[in-house]
């Protein structure tokens, strides 16, 4: 039986019960709770709920992403049956180790494990593809795959046969293999590669170090290793990787095909391996690579590319004869030859074979590894080879191709011309059609119509090319449009609209008309003609519906219908019409899925499909109920785009599609917040592609802008992952890109404002790191750029906003660093700018928000600097700003909570002048009901009081800081003019807190002020009793009680029902010794604890000790309750209005002493 006097803790009971097996619980609780059946039941219920809490509160109110842990592998780790012994290689995606297999047999193997952080879905898929590819291959010249698995952290790995051998060139040299032997070994290499190609695997990185020779029973066996790595990595070639290669003297570029060196660099097929095989053969034969390693390394990147793409290497036989003497001898010795025989050993047939493999144009190379192999074998068998010297015609063609002119600028000029041409063609075609009956020769007519149609098609094609090349860039881009762009778009719009109208009444409308209609809608949307854009899109959908009904197999029209729907989702999204948006999205998805089923899609249709899927994914990502759909759409889009690019690696628009798809995949993962690594890797991939695209086409600004915006988002992810240094690096990179962009395209305000924004963030970061000097540089650049931006492009909203934010933050930091003056200058600039903005754009609510922020800060700063008059005048501005914001909000039909509105004003308001102004405005405000006005006014008054007390406090703080107590008088005396009587009144009693010696003087001053105030205004302000109460709460108060009493009586006359007025009088009565009158006043209402203490003191003085004690106890109880309530209220009120507990407690102790003293 538990001791009933000990309070039983519910928490302990519940937790103890939870630890028991269910059967033992009842007995335990009976023992602990005794007869308390309620408690037993209660505990059991809690236990039940603890055990069956299900998903309740499982996740925080706002979901937080799990910290991604890095679970890398290291030497000594055991993965499954393998122990990692030594790292032998590392690529972008994985690490290769020598590992020891423990069972069933003890042997050494090569183990490749994916790197932590690379386990995004797409990388995993490719890793898996590589593993499967290797598993598919079964060839004695290819290292075998033995096993696969995943680490305990879910990273996949696979195990391969460990090949310990020498690079083929080294092996041949060391064992002095002759030309024929070398060629025989090379045949084995070709066999391995041919086998791989048959399995659809491209090696991409054939070089001696990947072609090893081991001895098996004394017989050399070729083993090709590192298969499919480059392909699986899918790493576009970049300057960086090449330099890395060079620096590590891997010599990779020496074996790279010209197409591998293309910067868009994804155009790789099996013929790339043929080229590399050619290089390998060249080296095996001559002892050196076609291009001199040193020379390549000396030349810059561009020069290197040029050499490999354009220069013809010396024929092998030529190379051998031109070798320097020493080298020639060495090479000859290594082939078991002397100088002379070596020179002759390389026959012209061998030259042809090698050169055919090394053709710049892959169409002219051997079509397959077996083709090469067979030719080599023909040579070895002394049969005529198929390879032959290249013709002159071919050489001429090659020359012409070398001089591709850049049409970037010409293109823009041409576009106008093309539009003109198009229009005439179009008119002509119509004219011809109209004259149909009049023309005699039907043949001629048909011919003309056909010709016209051809010309129309050509013109259509041309303008579409132009559009895709330039205008689509402007349309997809959020930047403002320059005059030229606007003009182009308008012209294009006119053209497209005409084209769209030129739709013969056939049941099958021309696709061109569809495209035109779509483009016209997109342009309309871009130009802000939302209604027209909507109409266009709807018309398109309707037309497509008709076509689809009569011919469901027409994919193009359906794709354009999806595009039109997606365009509409955009419009709905902007209007917040989510339901409509979702409906459209669902329709698009089912359409896309249907289309994707088809096997006969053209590349362009697949591109459109990918684009639609990607837009759909972006549209759906924020919609919770469609998360799965959004994911599928994004993955589908990436997958489609990837296969397109793989198939036609050099196609610019396919690469754009892939970059876009990956980008929206990255954004999707970012948005959901849980797949940070996936987001990063998709972004990284996308960014790489954009970079190549930008290099390929310097005028394609989307490529740069996209990189910048990717970096911006990557920075967010990195911040989430707390990878601060990388985040910082990403911002720096973004900053660099945007700076470059702004130099190249100075007319785009959007990017300037983005640059401003990133500079702001960098400044922030530097501030955090404590590099204030560096931060200053960023701040200055940021403010300068944005300042000139808003001057040059006053209509750019983003620029205004960013500037406002930057000034706000800059001031914040300057102030934090103690540079009050600089902070003030910055804020002054902000004040001036925002005044301008709000005047010019009265409907932009956000500007008011910023204005309010800046003015609030400025008011605070002025107050801190004791510049009260300035603070007051800024506060009025602040008030106006708040009021304007309210108006703008009402215009925007957004209902704004009046409390927050007045609240935000009141925080900054600390002067009577402002207060009056504020009341005036409140009363003039017709949107607020009279009832509400009263309520607001009250609230406002409360805020005001609190603020004024704060003014007083900050005045004191200031003095404390300056350690100049005596100056207070001067300041406060001056204050009476600037602060106004009211503030002064409140401020004065506070002085006592630290300057008790001048107590009397202070009180006298207060009284003077009070009287002055009473004289000045006929009506006492409603809040004056508070002042009196503050003074009367302390015994030390009152040098001239009679005068104060007179004021109090007058106050109560004016406000007979006001509790505070009554209280003030009662307290003053008590302080002046008129206890009986005080008692009479207070006995009416004893609920107020403050009054209770005063009353008990008065009663004690009057001799009624019993009642005095009673009142005292009652008041004490109230006080305790009050304390408890405050605690409770603190938990759920933003800022509970605090009863003056200090005063109460002081009164309590004063009363308890008084009661003891008066004790008979």
């Amino acid at each position: 039986m538990a001791d009933p006097t000990i309070p039983i803790n519910e928490l302990d009971l519940v937790l103890a019960t939870l630890e028991l097996v269910p059967e033992a619980r009842s007995a335990y609780l009976r023992q602990e709770c005794g007869d308390n059946a309620n408690l037993q039941a209660r505990v059991l219920e809690l236990v039940r709920n603890a055990e069956a809490s299900g998903s309740f509160m499982r996740r925080p109110a706002l979901e937080r992403m799990p910290e991604t842990q890095m679970h890398g592998t290291k030497i000594g780790d055991r993965l499954d049956r393998y122990r990692l012994m030594e790292q032998i290689g590392e690529g972008g995606m994985g690490v290769v180790y020598v590992a020891e297999q423990v069972e069933p047999v003890r042997r050494k193997v090569a183990l490749k494990v994916i790197k932590p952080g690379m386990d995004s879905k797409s990388v995993l898929a490719r890793f898996d593809a590589e593993r499967q590819a290797l598993a598919m291959m079964d060839h004695q010249n290819i290292a075998r795959i033995l096993d696969a698995g995943t680490t305990e952290h879910g990273l996949p790995f696979f195990v391969m046969e460990l090949v310990r051998g020498l690079p083929i060139t080294t092996y041949c040299d060391q064992s002095c293999k002759g030309i024929r032997e070398r060629m025989a070994l090379f045949v084995d290499v070709c066999r391995a590669i041919q086998h791989a190609h048959q399995k659809g695997i491209i090696h991409r990185d054939i070089k001696p170090s990947n072609v090893l020779v081991t001895l098996h029973d004394g017989k050399p066996i070729v083993k090709v290793i590192d298969f499919g790595v480059a392909k699986a990595l899918h790493q576009p070639l970049s300057q960086h990787t090449i330099y890395t290669a060079l620096n590590q003297v891997i010599g990779t570029p020496l074996y790279m095909s010209p197409e591998q060196l293309e910067l868009s660099g994804l155009d790789i097929d099996t013929r790339t391996d043929i080229y590399s095989l050619g290089v390998l053969l060249y080296e095996l034969l001559t002892g050196s690579t076609p291009f001199d390693q040193e020379q390549l390394m000396k030349s810059g990147f561009e020069e290197m590319r040029r050499i490999i793409r354009e220069d013809d290497p010396p024929r092998p036989s030529q190379r051998v004869t031109t070798l320097p003497k020493a080298e020639l001898s060495t090479a000859a010795n290594r082939r078991g030859l002397n100088d002379r025989t070596f020179s002759k050993s390389v026959a012209s047939e061998i030259d042809w074979i090698v050169l055919k493999a090394l053709e710049k144009d892959r169409n002219r190379r051997y079509e397959s590894a077996s083709g090469l192999l067979e030719d080599v074998q023909r040579y070895l068998n002394d049969e005529p080879v198929l390879a032959c010297p290249p013709s002159w015609k071919y050489r001429l063609q090659k020359l012409a191709r070398k001089h591709r002119a850049s049409i970037a600028i010409a293109g823009t000029l041409l576009s106008g011309l093309m539009i003109g041409l198009m229009l005439t063609t179009w008119q002509w075609r119509r004219a011809v059609a109209a004259e149909q009956g009049a023309v005699e020769s039907k043949l001629l007519l048909e011919q003309q119509v056909r010709l016209a149609d051809n010309r129309l098609a050509l013109a259509e094609q041309t303008i579409d090319d132009m559009y895709i090349r330039f205008a689509s860039d402007w349309i997809s881009h959020q930047s403002g449009l320059g005059a030229v762009q606007q003009e182009f778009l308008e012209k294009a719009l006119a053209t497209y609209e005409q084209l769209a109208a030129d739709d013969r009444t056939d049941t099958e409308p021309r696709l061109g008309a569809f495209v035109a209609l779509y483009r016209a809608s997109a342009i309309h949307q871009r130009l802000g003609n939302i209604e027209k854009a909507t109409q266009g899109a709807l018309a398109l959908i309707e037309k497509a519906d008709r076509v689809t009904q009569s011919n469901p197999g027409n994919v193009d029209h359906r794709l354009y219908r999806s595009r039109a729907r997606l365009l509409l989702t955009n419009i709905h999204d902007n209007r917040g019409e989510t339901v409509k948006k979702i409906e459209l999205c669902d329709a698009v998805w089912s359409e896309l899925q249907e289309i994707a089923q088809r096997k006969d899609l053209t590349a362009d249709q697949r591109r459109l499909l990918a684009t639609c899927a990607s837009s759909l994914a972006s549209a759906l990502t924020p919609i919770k109920s469609r998360e799965q759909l959004a994911r599928e759409a994004a993955d589908r889009s990436v997958q489609l785009a990837q296969s397109l690019v793989e198939f036609t690696p050099n196609n610019f628009s396919f690469n754009v599609t892939l970059a876009n798809s990956l980008q929206s995949k990255g954004t999707q993962c970012l948005w959901w917040g849980k797949e940070n690594e996936a987001s990063l890797s998709a972004y990284q991939e996308s960014k790489n592609i954009w970079r190549h695209l930008a290099e390929e086409r310097p005028d394609y600004r989307t490529a740069i802008a996209s990189q910048a915006s990717i970096l911006q988002n990557m920075a967010i992810v990195l911040r989430r992952l707390k990878r601060t240094d990388e985040e910082f690096a990403a911002r720096i990179e973004q900053c660099g890109l945007l700076r470059e962009y702004c130099v190249r395209f100075p007319e785009h305000p959007q990017e300037i404002s983005l640059l401003g924004d990133v500079l702001r963030k960098l400044a922030y970061a530097e501030e955090t790191r404590g590099n204030h000097a560096k931060a200053d540089e960023y701040w200055t650049e940021c403010v300068d750029r944005l300042n000139s931006l808003v001057e040059r492009f006053p209509d750019n909203r983003m620029g205004r906003k960013t500037l406002a934010m930057a000034l706000n933050d800059y001031a914040h930091h300057e102030k934090k660093r103690g540079n009050g003056e600089r902070a003030r200058k910055v804020l002054e600039l902000g004040r001036e700018r925002l005044k301008l903005f709000t005047e010019k754009y009265p409907d932009d609510r956000e500007m008011y928000v910023f204005q309010i922020q800046i003015l609030t800060k400025l008011t605070g700063l002025c107050l801190e600097q004791a510049d009260h008059s300035m603070a007051a005048s800024i506060a009025i501005e602040l008030l106006n700003a708040s009021s304007e914001e309210r108006k703008a909000a009402i215009r925007g039909t957004d209902v704004i909570d009046p409390r927050s509105y007045w609240g935000s004003v009141a925080v900054a308001v600390r002067s009577k002048k402002v207060f009056e102004h504020c009341l005036e405005m409140l009363n003039a405000d017709q949107d607020i009901a009279e009832v509400d006005k009263k309520h607001i006014e009250e609230e406002y008054l409360t805020n005001l009081t609190a603020c004024i007390v704060e003014v007083a406090r900050s005045a004191m703080e200031l003095i404390q800081v300056e350690n100049a107590g005596p100056n207070l008088w001067a300041k406060l005396s001056k204050g009476i003019d600037t602060l106004g009587t009211w503030e002064y009144l409140v401020a004065m009693p506070n002085v006592e807190n630290f300057e008790s010696h001048s107590q009397l003087e202070i009180n006298a001053k207060v009284l003077d002020a009070l009287q002055l105030h009473c004289l000045q205004v006929a009506d006492l302000p409603k809040f004056w009793p508070d002042v009196v109460l503050v003074m009367a709460s302390s015994e030390r108060f009152c040098s001239r009680p009679d005068e104060l009493l007179a004021i109090c009586r007058r106050g109560l006359e004016q406000m007979p029902d006001d509790a505070s007025a009554k209280q003030a009088l009662a307290w003053t009565l008590f302080r002046c010794g008129q206890d009986a009158e005080c008692r009479d006043l207070l006995e009416i209402d004893t609920v107020n604890p403050e009054n209770g203490f005063v009353l008990s003191m008065a009663l004690a003085k009057l001799g009624d000790h019993k009642l005095a004690q009673e009142r005292f106890d009652q008041a004490s109880l109230f006080l305790e309750t009050e304390k408890g309530m405050l605690e409770a209220r603190r938990a759920h009120e933003p800022a509970p209005q605090q009863p003056n507990l200090e005063t109460l407690m002081r009164l309590q102790s004063e009363a308890s002493i008084a009661l003891q003293d008066q004790q008979p």
Binding site: A61, L62, G576, W671, W672, R719, T859, L863, T893, E1127
Partner: protein, 184 residues
């Protein structure tokens, strides 16, 4: 204007009122930051309470050395409370929307905060006050963990209790709240 660091110093010195004064400042900053964050970036941004609170902390307090335990806890507590208000606001709006609220209305950016289960948020919010009357510390723990987004381990550090205790309290508090909500 009252400076946060000043308030924190006062909390450090044991001033009870300072903690209450801190709240509106943190609240404003949080709201503003949340708003900026949402306005700032392209679509693709979810708010993280901890990240927000931490950022506010850095913005308002800076990486001030030597800030003692008490004032840091004070700040995090105030910030979690502020976060609670923001979330409850968002949850309320979300629920009103669902019940045929005015969808056409222009959305404040802060409304884009994704509260996954608004009903639960509001229920917990209401019941939490009752829990606070019953057991202040458990309520504080719920506030930091559920609304502030801190892990139980982090909360234990902030509240200066062992992780085991924090876990036990959490089990109890959740059962308590569930009971309270269900009986309502």
């Amino acid at each position: 204007m009252t400076d946060v660091t000043y308030l924190l110093d006062r909390i450090e010195a044991g001033d009870q009122k300072a903690a209450a004064e801190l709240f509106p400042l943190v609240y404003d900053e949080l709201r503003r930051l949340a708003q900026w964050k949402l306005a700032d970036e392209k679509p693709g941004n979810t708010l993280q309470p901890t990240a927000l609170v931490n950022e506010v902390y850095v913005r308002m307090v800076g990486v001030k050395q030597g800030l003692n335990f008490k004032s840091r806890s004070g700040f995090l507590s105030a910030a979690s409370e502020a976060m609670r208000h923001i979330l409850v606001d968002a949850a309320r709006r979300k629920l009103t929307r669902k019940h045929g609220g005015d969808v056409e209305r222009m959305e404040l950016e802060v409304d884009r905060i994704l509260v996954q289960h608004p009903k639960e948020v509001l229920d917990v919010h209401t019941a939490l006050d009752a829990l606070a009357e019953h057991n202040v510390q458990c309520a504080e723990l719920v506030k930091l963990h559920y609304f502030g987004g801190y892990s139980i381990a982090e909360v234990a550090d902030v509240m200066n209790i062992s992780r085991a205790t924090a876990n036990r309290w959490w089990i109890y508090a959740r059962a308590w709240l569930k009971t309270a909500i269900e009986s309502h």
